[in-house]
């Protein structure tokens, strides 16, 4: 590999592309690391390499983990008859942080958007249906933990329709999730309360 003529700028540029990091904070982070390359930089590089090699999406639920199926899917202590459907891994992690859900998850990979060109076949809808059909232990309840946006609500309505033949009860998060609110930025208390007060749709 040719040596980069400007490794510092290259690194800043890479970091600045990450969500939540502008150029300014990327520059601060790089400066801090460069002052302690042995302690702060090489372990980070190693951790990045290891994570990139080991982590993959779970074939059952879509979560990201170093094992496949993921740790949640392999945990027999969790309620196998309860599946919580989330838009993305970020929402799954938010719910896990809140310790609010004792069942399994299903990552949809987005929400329906006619304007964004995202249709049912772009989401993990078929895998969800197949998973419920083929489950060893019957799925009693599917919780739709989707954002309270137009697209989130439309997707929930759509899934309710598609899930009807499976016989599983379909529930949604109750009010308390602010309209337009993204799940992964809600505080854990609100999330736990919303999950507890879910209702049948």
């Amino acid at each position: 590999m040719a040596t980069d003529p400007n490794p510092i700028e290259h690194l800043i540029g890479l970091l600045a592309r990450l969500p939540g990091l502008g150029r300014r904070s990327a520059r601060r982070a790089v400066l801090r690391m460069l002052m302690q390359p042995e302690q702060a930089m090489l372990p980070l590089a190693e951790a990045l390499r290891a994570a990139a090699a080991a982590v993959q999406p779970c074939q059952i639920c879509g979560n990201l983990d170093a094992t496949n199926p993921c740790g949640i899917c392999r945990d027999s202590q969790r309620d196998q008859g309860l599946i919580c459907v989330v838009e993305g891994v970020s929402e799954l992690w938010a719910l896990e942080r809140a310790h609010a859900h004792r069942g399994l998850y299903h990552v949809l990979g987005g929400t329906l958007s006619a304007l964004g060109g995202i249709g049912p076949e772009d989401l993990a809808v078929q895998p969800l249906l197949a998973r419920i059909e083929g489950a060893a232990e019957p799925v009693r309840e599917v919780i739709l933990a989707l954002p309270a946006t137009v697209d989130g609500a439309t997707t929930a309505h759509y899934l309710t329709d598609r899930l009807r033949p499976t016989g599983a009860q379909v529930t949604r998060l109750a009010q308390g999730v602010p309209i337009g609110g993204a799940l992964d930025v809600l505080d854990e208390g609100t999330l736990a309360a919303a999950l507890k007060a879910r209702r049948v749709v």
């Binding site: 329906l112 006619a114 929930a156 759509y158 598609r162």
Partner: protein, 402 residues
């Protein structure tokens, strides 16, 4: 109007805002007049005041337009700008509200600061400041299509119920997606996913019923206030919301109306696909203004009569805000007196003097404001030679300071 007291703007500072290079002006009147020739910057001044609060101000302008343009029409640049107001609330508490482009940020971004601290949520602003306005552009409301009247009504609702904007946006978004799916179906000849359409129609029904209910509620409250005579001797208006959804809400519970909307839209997919649009729903509503004393629709009224109708609605709206917030909003009345005859002008001035609100009025000619001598404070704006000048007009001396 409710016995609330006024929110007062006691000082305005502008830096490179539109035609104003820099300006600092203290206000001590409950009625403030700004006169001057065309292009002197009078409307710009009102616009700056209207930006000290939620929303995009009385021109609905993009932030990038607001910086003073230098260097000619072609290849000119817009300078970073700022507008700041010092306000006194009804309890005598002063606060500073500033807005403008950030120091090192892009010119399209606008920040707001309350007492120096960034304002994160516009809803917090609404608790502190409010303004209602009337501009010459709004005269077109009676000629233009129903869409402009609907947007006018939605702005009035929004000033009282900030979440209304989200209901409207959510409804529009769901409808745009439904139209898109139906258009695809028509173009590609394949059946659109019925469950997906039903999901969108469900969102439309929920948000549509909510926004129709909010519009209906506001129209009823405005009419009640105008019937009570909030506008004094000023001729009053009556509003009618033409919207089957709003009408249905008068007869059935909202959930039943939502149910019916869902059924209607599900049944009209074929027709709507052929039309390329959703043909029924609250997005087709119209707002009809009636001149109450004459019992004539606005379209058949004279220019001056139409102006009077708008004034009546704006004053009633200010009354509703005062009742809801506990303080009367600023009234920004651009060129309002020009179209009114002497009798109506005096009725307007009398109504303004009665209101607890602080009012800013502009006009090209100070003479028409003569009846306000002794009641109002006045300034003369002068363009050109000495830009950014606002000179106290000594013909008008405020009797007692605020």
């Amino acid at each position: 109007m409710a016995p609330a007291s006024a929110l007062l703007l006691t000082r305005l500072m502008l830096q490179d805002f539109r035609s104003w290079p820099s300006l600092t002006v203290p206000f001590s009147g409950r009625i403030v007049l700004v006169t001057g020739p065309n292009g002197a910057g009078k409307t710009n001044l009102l616009e700056a005041i209207s930006l000290l609060g939620p929303g995009r101000g009385l021109r609905g302008a993009r932030t990038a337009e607001l910086g003073r343009q230098v260097g000619g029409a072609t290849g000119g640049v817009a300078l970073p700008w700022a507008a700041a107001g010092r306000f006194r609330d009804p309890f005598g508490q002063e606060f500073d509200l500033g807005t403008g482009t950030p120091e090192d940020g892009p010119p399209e971004r606008r920040i707001l600061r309350l007492d120096g601290a960034p304002v994160r949520a516009q809803s917090l602003l609404a608790e502190r400041v409010a303004a209602v306005w009337l501009t010459p552009q709004m005269d077109r409301l009676f000629q233009d299509g129903a869409g402009d009247r609907r947007r006018f009504l939605d702005r009035l609702v929004w000033a009282l119920e900030p979440h209304h904007a989200r209901e409207v946006a959510a409804y529009d978004q769901a409808m745009a997606q439904r139209n898109r799916l139906l258009a695809q179906e028509r173009r590609e000849g394949m059946r659109a996913d019925a469950a997906w359409l039903a999901g969108l129609e469900d969102a439309m029904a929920r948000h549509g019923a909510a926004l129709a209910a909010a519009r209906r509620g506001l129209v009823a409250r405005l009419n009640a206030l105008m019937a009570e005579g909030v506008t004094g001797a000023f001729p009053s208006a009556r509003l009618t919301l033409q919207c089957p959804v709003a009408a249905a809400l008068a007869e059935a519970p909202a959930l039943a109306v939502e149910e019916r909307l869902r059924a209607d839209w599900a049944a009209s997919r074929g027709r709507d696909a052929a039309a390329g649009a959703t043909l029924i729903g609250p997005h087709r509503a119209d707002l009809v203004f009636t001149h109450a004393p004459k019992d004539l629709p606005a379209a058949l009224c004279s220019t001056g009569e139409q102006k009077a109708l708008l004034v009546a609605v704006v004053l009633a709206h200010a009354g509703l805000i005062a009742a809801a917030r506990g303080f009367a909003p600023l009234l920004l009345l651009d060129e309002v007196a020009a179209h009114l005859d002497a009798t109506r002008r005096e009725a307007l001035f009398a109504a303004l003097a009665e209101l607890p609100a602080q009012a800013f009025l502009t006009g090209t000619d100070a003479g028409i404001f003569a009846p306000l001598r002794g009641l109002a404070e006045a300034f003369r704006a002068s363009p050109g030679a000495s830009p950014g000048q606002l000179v106290a007009d000594m013909d008008f001396v405020v009797p007692d300071a605020l």
